[in-house]
């Protein structure tokens, strides 16, 4: 019998975790319980494994951080092959080893099939923006392929449990994971759409766009492209910020809401934007103790409704505070925070130690634009939109003809605007492919108005400002 600590969530007010059959995986020779369909990182983390690898240069312990295959912090060797455990599904009897220093290459090659796809449209990214474009193209005779690097389609939606508000067309009253489920079902019925998950688009070559899956290499030659690759989480500088237990808020959300695994038992959240506030509430729902939310600005960054909710539960939101360090051997045991003055300097004597095993960073996102640069798209540094972003027409076309963008890759916003931009990009492609048909133009104008309306709120001021700087005609 296997007895390990178990961080899995079995009862949840909103989510129901459908786990597959029980299997056994071996980590460092010890058996661990896992369930079919689970991500390997989630499975062993749930059983109390903190240290996944030892860093190559300074020999520091590393654990899960992003949970979406972007950071490499959770790399392990699976049956001798180095892999990011957060994007690897468990298999019965898997032999998993900690990577100490640099990982060894497998001594054996792997058989890789090659597939060449001549299509009308390639959509890169299966989050809200990419799914929205696919939705518009669904049922037309434009042969479309959507490629996503995650195990499940839906981008960040699959871990969003809060209720969307606004209009019905914009999913009011529904939760993110439900929207993702709906889209999964609907898109799977589109005869002109091929969905490829677990596959990363790695490069843009003259001969086509290269995507790499576990055992297949795809070379895609599209006429039109929608790049909806989203964004990645920012890190923050403080002492020991690589210690296991320090995690991206999005990473923790994936663990908790996708895989049903608590990120820790006591959590300190850094950043009071919507992500920081929402994750705090979700932690409470999962039965995790939230110690405080720390915010360097004098004001709470996110929406009042979200802040009010967590305050009702007595969670302090400490504005004008920052994190200085975390301490612990194999995992965070304590965090030190302090007040900052109006010039962001630490006020001496205000340092305070907080006992906690987890620190979640909700300190913003950066657009994931590497592929756009490979397409040769003109870029500009616009901090209001999240950093280096592509220039675009109001119809979401970049400076490179027939290369479109939508969602966080264009500007850090949220799911709703990502959907609208995805629809706009989709209609722009229809108009290019079929000519200026009135119904297409009308639909696109409708979504352009919707976007403008949505962004007229005071919270969108930064995006409005940045958007003007990013527009080309």
């Amino acid at each position: 019998m296997i007895v390990n600590p178990d961080l899995r969530i079995y009862t949840h007010p909103i989510l129901e975790f459908k786990r597959g059959g029980e299997v056994t995986v071996f980590f460092e020779g010890k058996p661990f319980r896992a369930f079919e369909g689970e991500a390997l990182a989630a499975a062993i983390y749930a059983s109390g494994v903190n240290v996944f690898r030892i860093s190559p240069v300074r020999g520091r312990p590393r654990g899960v951080f992003c949970m979406v295959g972007k950071c490499g912090s959770c790399m392990v060797r699976v049956d001798g092959v180095p892999m990011r455990s957060c994007v690897t599904s468990v298999r019965h009897d898997m032999k998993v080893e900690r990577v100490s220093g640099l990982p060894d290459l497998s001594r054996y090659g792997r058989d890789v099939a090659r597939e060449e796809l001549d299509v009308d449209v390639l959509i890169i990214g299966g989050g809200p923006a990419g799914m929205a474009s696919a939705e518009v193209l669904c049922g037309t005779d434009l042969e479309t392929v959507l490629i996503d690097d995650q195990i499940r389609l839906g981008g960040q939606l699959i871990k969003q449990t809060h209720i969307f508000f606004g209009s019905r067309e914009l999913f009011a009253g529904r939760r993110g994971f439900e929207i993702a489920d709906d889209y999964n079902k609907r898109l799977s019925k589109c005869s002109n759409l091929k969905i490829i998950t677990g596959t990363t688009v790695v490069g843009v070559f003259k001969e086509g766009v290269l995507a790499v899956g576990d055992n297949v290499l795809y070379l895609v030659r599209p006429k039109y492209v929608v790049v909806a690759a989203g964004a990645f989480e920012n890190h923050l500088v403080f002492d020991n910020n690589d210690l296991p237990g320090v995690m991206g808020a999005g990473g923790a959300q994936t663990l908790m809401n996708v895989w049903g695994v608590k990120p820790g038992s006591e959590v300190l959240v850094i950043g009071s934007g919507n992500v920081g506030l929402i994750i705090s509430y979700q932690l409470l729902q999962a039965g995790v103790n939230v110690k405080a939310v720390v915010e360097a600005l004098p004001r709470i960054g996110g929406w009042f409704v979200h802040a009010a909710k967590i305050r009702r539960y007595g969670i302090p939101i400490l504005t004008r505070h920052t994190i200085l360090s975390v301490k612990g051997s194999e995992r965070v045991e304590e965090a030190v925070i302090a007040s900052v003055d109006e010039n962001w300097n630490v006020v001496p004597g205000t340092e305070k130690a907080i006992k906690t095993d987890t620190v979640l960073l909700a300190v913003g996102l950066t657009p994931n634009t590497e592929l756009l640069r490979q397409f040769g798209v003109a870029m500009k540094y616009i901090p209001d939109l999240g950093g280096l972003v592509p220039l675009r027409t109001r119809y979401m076309e970049t400076s490179v003809e027939n290369v479109f963008i939508a969602g966080d890759i264009a500007a850090i916003e949220e799911a709703t605007t990502a959907f609208i931009e995805g629809w706009i990009a989709g209609y722009s492609i229809l108009i290019k492919a079929y000519g200026e048909r009135e119904d297409f133009i009308e639909s696109r104008e409708k979504y352009l108005r919707m976007l403008q309306e949505y962004r007229s709120a005071p919270v969108s001021e930064k995006v409005r400002r940045g958007w003007q700087l990013s527009l080309i005609s």
């Binding site: 092959v81 180095p82 640099l102 290459l105 090659g109 790695v202 070559f205 001969e207």
Partner: protein, 379 residues
């Protein structure tokens, strides 16, 4: 107007090495001008291989001396890496074996201790998954030097030595009168007075600068691809070349693996080619299937600046006594930079290089039809 003593145009390996040896000789007022950032051009894009196993007297001799300098630099410059793990030329046809047998004898006669290895000896040095290798040429004095580490280490060292580095500073032209360069035109219209020397070490862009002074340099841009993987524990020490296909693989001390292959494309086509990637990986993974389990990080294109005889031009620019040019390295500029930098320093300070072989790198050889010969080229 600003004033400099020595203006070096180009912040690649050649320019940085010239600055280093000049500064070591006590020259003051050295300024390096780089249109982007140090190492942006061919230096930062090369594989970092260093070898003297060439087929011409000039190349073998210069590289033999350059490797001596690499070994000294490793002691003199903190953070600079040069690892003498050798080059291994895998030979898969009888013709290649015979050719390299003769090459080894020639290299030995010039003091470079290369030697032929039997298929069995190759297997002991580097286990291969495929058995079509008949023999190999092994160059134990060759090695590898990470270009990224080189650039960072040299930046720091040069700043300590008082060299001025101007990045994102574009030299548009050189103004000359009376057979001497007098100033540089920098960025839009700034003029920088030059009191002593100008070195043109701007890789493929050297052609435009020389043309501006009425001198035509016979170099052509030759784009070459390279890829780098994530970092892995050491699996391969020497740089290994599959001579028949012109493909190669090297693993740096950092753990990164670089794989190159000959894949000719037009002069101005810098688009990335999947054909290259496929060729490089297919051929090298036959010998090292491990490569297939590595994560690909990046593919890029960099220029070889190629002369008609694949040898560089290291010379005083004809008609301009204080302008020197060092370009046309045809894919070997980085490995040669330590000796070329030292020779440039001699040419500036003593009026002539130290080695007779450097004199053979004059520009006039192309007009006179006295081309040098080289066959040991790949990538």
């Amino acid at each position: 107007m600003e004033q400099v003593n020595v203006a070096i145009v180009g912040g690649g390996s050649t320019g940085l090495m010239a600055a280093y040896y000049l500064a070591k000789e006590g020259v003051r007022g050295i300024h390096v001008f780089e249109s982007k950032y140090l190492g942006f051009g061919s230096t930062g894009r090369c594989a970092g291989g260093v070898r003297s196993s060439f087929a011409s007297n000039v190349h073998v001799t210069l590289m033999r001396e350059s490797i001596r300098n690499w070994l000294r630099l490793k002691e003199e410059v903190e953070g600079l890496e040069f690892i003498q793990d050798g080059y291994l030329w895998l030979l898969t046809t009888e013709e290649l074996v015979e050719l390299h047998r003769r090459l080894a004898a020639y290299q030995n006669s010039l003091g470079v201790p290369t030697r032929m290895l039997s298929a069995e000896e190759v297997g002991e040095l580097v286990p291969l998954a495929r058995s079509d290798v008949l023999a190999a040429l092994y160059d134990p004095t060759a090695g590898k030097a990470s270009p990224i580490k080189f650039v960072w280490a040299m930046r720091k060292k040069l700043m300590e030595l008082g060299v001025n580095i101007h990045e994102y500073t574009f030299v548009r032209g050189i103004r000359a009168s009376g057979g001497k360069a007098r100033s540089l035109v920098v960025d839009e219209s700034n003029e920088v007075r030059v009191d002593d020397h100008v070195l043109i070490a701007a890789g493929v862009w050297s052609k435009e600068l020389s043309r501006d002074l009425g001198v035509e340099i016979p170099i052509k841009k030759d784009p070459h691809h390279l890829l780098v993987t994530d970092k892995y524990s050491p699996f391969l020490r020497p740089l290994v070349i599959h001579k028949e296909s012109g493909s190669y693989v090297v693993q740096h001390e950092t753990g990164s693996i670089l794989v190159g292959a000959e894949f000719p494309v037009p002069e101005d086509d810098t688009s990335l080619r999947y054909g290259y990637l496929r060729k490089a990986v297919t051929i090298m993974s036959r010998y090292f299937p491990q490569i297939l389990s590595a994560e690909l990080l990046r593919v890029w294109v960099g220029y070889y600046e190629v002369t008609p005889d694949h040898h560089p031009i290291v010379d005083v620019l004809p008609g301009y006594e204080n302008v020197l040019i060092a370009t046309g390295f045809s894919g070997h500029g980085y490995m040669m930079a330590p000796i070329v930098g030292e020779e440039i320093t001699s040419m500036m300070l003593d009026g002539r290089p130290k080695l007779a072989e450097t004199n053979e790198l004059r520009l006039e050889r192309f007009d006179e039809g006295k081309l040098l010969k080289e066959s040991a080229i790949f990538g």
